[in-house]
C-alpha cells in the first residue's frame, strides 16, 4: 500500500477495508472488492491493474462515488463519501471527480463544446462561463476547431480528448479513467496518456487509471494490483 502516513499532507484518497458485495445475501453473491485499503497523496498519478474480473472497475466506481461500498470507509479529500445523500453525491461527483470512460461516452446529441460544458452546467456554473471554460479546455486538448462537431463527426482519439476536457471542466480533485486507451490505436493511446500526464503535472489533479497496458502502468507514480477483489501488490 502506498501510504501517505509519513506525508504531512492528508491523502486525497483514503480507503479503509473497502468491501463491495454484489447480490449480497443471495446465492449469487459476489465479493467484488474484498477489504481493500490504500492511501493516495494529492497530485498522484496511479494505475489500478489486474486481470479481467479482478474488481478494477468496481473499485473505480467506489472511488468516483458512483456506488457505495458494502463495508469499509472511503474518504476523498477528508470527506466521508458513503454517508452522503443522492443529491449530495451527485454534487460531489460533479464538483470533485472527473470521469473518462473506455468508450469515450460523449452525449451524442451535444456538440464537443456542449459536452465539455455539461458538467459545469450541472454544477450550477452560468452558461456563458461554462462555455468559456469548455472552449479553453478544447483549445488545450487541440480541438478548438472541432468544438461545434457532434461526437459522431469526431474520430475515437478526438472523442477521448473531448472526454478528458469534459473531466476537467470543474477543476476536480480527481480524474478517474477507466481504460481510457482501450479502444484506441497506439498513436492515439500515447496522445491520451500524454494529455493525462500533462494535466496531472500542470494542474496537480490526482489521476487514477484502470489499465491493462503494462507500459502505461509503468509510467504511473503508483500501481495497485488487484486479484479477486484484493490488493495483491502496491508499488
Amino acid at each position: 500500500m502506498m501510504s501517505a502516513v509519513e506525508d504531512a499532507a492528508p491523502p486525497i484518497i483514503a480507503a479503509r477495508d473497502l468491501v463491495k458485495l454484489h447480490a449480497a445475501g443471495t446465492p449469487l453473491e459476489v465479493r467484488a472488492i474484498d477489504h481493500v485499503s490504500f492511501d493516495l497523496p494529492r497530485g498522484a498519478f496511479a494505475a489500478i491493474v489486474g486481470q479481467s474480473g479482478s474488481g478494477k472497475t468496481t473499485l473505480l466506481t467506489l472511488l468516483g462515488a458512483l456506488d457505495a461500498p458494502t463495508a469499509g470507509e472511503l474518504r476523498i479529500n477528508g470527506e466521508l463519501v458513503q454517508r452522503k445523500s443522492r443529491r449530495a453525491l451527485a454534487a460531489f461527483r460533479g464538483r470533485s471527480v472527473g470521469f473518462v470512460f473506455q468508450g469515450f461516452d460523449l452525449i451524442p446529441s451535444l456538440t464537443a463544446l456542449e459536452n465539455v460544458a455539461l458538467p459545469a452546467q450541472y454544477a450550477g456554473v452560468a452558461a456563458g462561463e461554462a462555455r468559456s471554460r469548455a472552449a479553453g479546455l478544447l483549445d488545450e486538448v487541440g480541438l478548438a476547431n472541432r468544438s461545434e462537431h457532434l461526437p459522431g463527426q469526431l474520430s475515437g482519439g478526438e472523442q477521448q480528448r473531448v472526454a478528458i476536457a469534459r473531466s476537467l471542466v470543474n477543476n476536480p480533485l480527481i480524474v478517474l479513467a477507466d481504460e481510457p486507451t482501450g479502444e484506441l490505436d497506439s498513436r492515439n493511446a500515447d496522445q491520451i496518456m500524454k494529455l493525462l500526464h500533462r494535466f496531472n503535472a500542470e494542474r496537480g489533479v490526482t489521476v487514477v487509471i484502470v489499465t491493462h497496458n503494462a507500459e502505461h502502468a509503468a509510467r504511473c507514480d503508483f500501481v495497485i494490483t488487484l486479484a479477486d477483489g484484493r490488493v495483491v501488490s502496491t508499488t
Binding site: A91, R93, F99, D105, Y122
Partner: protein, 388 residues
C-alpha cells in the same frame, strides 16, 4: 436546450414523427371541435338576441294558416295581457333546387317582414351595403352576407325567388345568425309567395294580406314572456315557445354537444399522449447508459427528471403547433366551403382557443413524460453504466 432535444428526436426520425403526429391529430381534433363549439355558442347567443329583438315565437299550424283567420288571431293575441303589438310574418324556404338538400348548414329561408319588424331587427343586423329600408319597394330584397357571397350578388343584381325577380337593395354584414343565409323581403311579397302554395281551388278564398306563418309579439315593459307564451298556447292552432325554456333548452343542448365533442377530442389526445409515454419509455431504455454518464459527471436526479420532462413537453409542443396549424387550415377550408354554399361559417378558431390548445398539448406532453422521466432519474448510475 431545444437544439439538443431536436437532435435527440432526429436520432429516431420515424418514431418521433409518428409520436408527434399522434399529438397533432389529437390537437387538431380539439381545436376543430373547439372552433365549432365556439362558433355554435356565438350563433346561439346571436340568434337569441334576434329572438329577443323580434320576439318571433308564435307559429301558426298549417291548418290554421289555411283557415285564413289572420286578423282574428292577431286581435286575440293583442288581447293577451302583456302584449303591446302583434306583427305578422311569413317565413318560407328559399329554394329546394338541385343540391340544396346536400348543402351543409341550416336551411336558407325567405323572411317576409313588415316595416315594424325590420326596425326591430336593426338591433342585431347591421346593413353592410345598400339599404334595408324596402317598405315601399316592391320586389326588393335584403340578403345576408353568406347568401350574397354564395351567388356573388351585389346591390342592383337580380335574384329569382319562387319564379319572380327581386332586386338586391341591401346586403347585411355578417351577423353569425340564421339571417346570414337568408333573404328578407316585404311582408306583402312574401304573402304572395305563400299564396302560390295554396291549392288553386282554394286560392280564390284567400286575400294575400291575410296570410301569415308566424307572429312576432312585442311585449309591454316588465311583461313575463313565459306567461304570455302560456296564454298563446291556449289558442287553437298557435304554438308559442317559452323564451326562457328556449334559452334553457339551447344552453342544455350546447352543453351536451360540447361534452360530446370535447370528450371525443380528449380521447384522441389521450391516445396521442400514450404514444409519448411509449416513446419516452423506449428513449429511457435506449439511453440508459447516457443517463449513467450524465449522473457520473454530476447530474442530479432532478436534472435528469427535468431533461426528460422538457423533451417530452417539446414533443407535445411540436405536435400541438402542427395540430393548431392543421386546425387553422381545416377550419378555413370548411368555412370557405360553407360560404361558397351560402351557409353559415361554423368554425371560429380564436387566438384564445389556439393558445389554450398549445398550452394543453405542452402540459400533456410533460405529464406523459413524467413516469419515464422518473424511471430515468432514479436509475442507479453503476447499473446504467453497465448498459452498452
Amino acid at each position: 436546450m431545444l437544439i439538443p432535444i431536436l437532435r435527440n428526436l432526429a436520432r429516431q426520425p420515424a418514431r418521433s414523427a409518428l409520436t408527434i403526429l399522434g399529438i397533432a391529430i389529437g390537437v387538431l381534433a380539439l381545436v376543430v371541435v373547439g372552433a365549432l363549439s365556439t362558433q355554435l355558442s356565438r350563433i346561439v347567443s346571436r340568434s337569441q338576441q334576434v329572438q329577443d329583438a323580434v320576439l318571433a315565437f308564435v307559429q301558426q299550424s298549417a291548418a290554421a294558416r289555411l283557415q285564413n283567420h289572420r286578423k282574428q288571431i292577431q286581435s286575440q293575441l293583442l288581447r293577451i295581457d302583456g302584449v303591446r303589438a302583434v306583427i305578422p310574418e311569413v317565413v318560407v324556404p328559399y329554394d329546394y333546387g338541385p343540391g340544396e338538400r346536400d348543402r351543409f348548414g341550416p336551411p336558407r329561408l325567405i323572411f317576409g317582414l313588415p316595416s315594424a319588424a325590420m326596425q326591430n331587427i336593426r338591433a342585431v343586423l347591421v346593413i353592410g351595403s345598400g339599404t334595408d329600408r324596402i317598405g315601399n319597394q316592391e320586389r326588393a330584397v335584403v340578403v345576408g352576407s353568406d347568401f350574397a357571397h354564395s351567388q356573388s350578388l351585389a346591390i342592383g343584381d337580380v335574384v329569382s325567388l319562387y319564379g319572380s325577380s327581386y332586386r338586391i337593395a341591401g346586403v347585411y354584414q355578417q351577423s353569425f345568425t340564421i339571417f346570414d343565409s337568408a333573404a328578407i323581403i316585404r311582408l306583402a311579397d312574401a304573402q304572395r309567395i305563400l299564396l302560390q302554395a295554396v291549392p288553386l281551388s282554394m286560392a280564390a278564398h284567400f286575400k294575400p294580406g291575410d296570410l301569415a306563418t308566424n307572429f312576432a309579439l312585442l311585449l309591454r315593459p316588465n311583461a313575463d314572456g313565459s306567461l304570455v307564451a302560456g296564454r298563446v298556447n291556449l289558442i287553437e292552432g298557435l304554438r308559442a315557445r317559452d323564451p326562457k325554456s328556449v334559452s334553457a333548452g339551447l344552453a342544455a343542448t350546447t352543453r351536451v354537444f360540447d361534452s360530446i365533442v370535447y370528450g371525443a377530442a380528449l380521447i384522441a389526445l389521450v391516445i396521442g399522449s400514450l404514444s409519448i409515454v411509449n416513446t419516452m419509455t423506449t428513449a429511457v431504455r435506449e439511453r440508459t447508459r447516457e443517463i449513467g454518464i450524465r449522473k457520473a459527471i454530476g447530474a442530479s436526479d432532478e436534472a435528469i427528471l427535468a431533461e426528460f420532462i422538457v423533451e417530452s413537453a417539446c414533443v407535445g409542443a411540436i405536435g400541438g403547433l402542427i395540430g393548431i396549424a392543421a386546425g387553422l387550415a381545416l377550419c378555413a377550408l370548411l368555412n370557405a366551403h360553407a360560404q361558397a354554399q351560402g351557409s353559415l361559417q361554423l368554425f371560429d378558431l380564436t387566438p384564445g382557443l389556439a393558445v389554450g390548445a398549445f398550452v394543453f398539448s405542452v402540459v400533456l406532453g410533460a405529464v406523459s413524460g413524467l413516469a419515464p422521466a422518473w424511471t430515468a432519474a432514479r436509475l442507479n448510475p453503476t447499473v446504467a453504466l453497465r448498459r452498452l
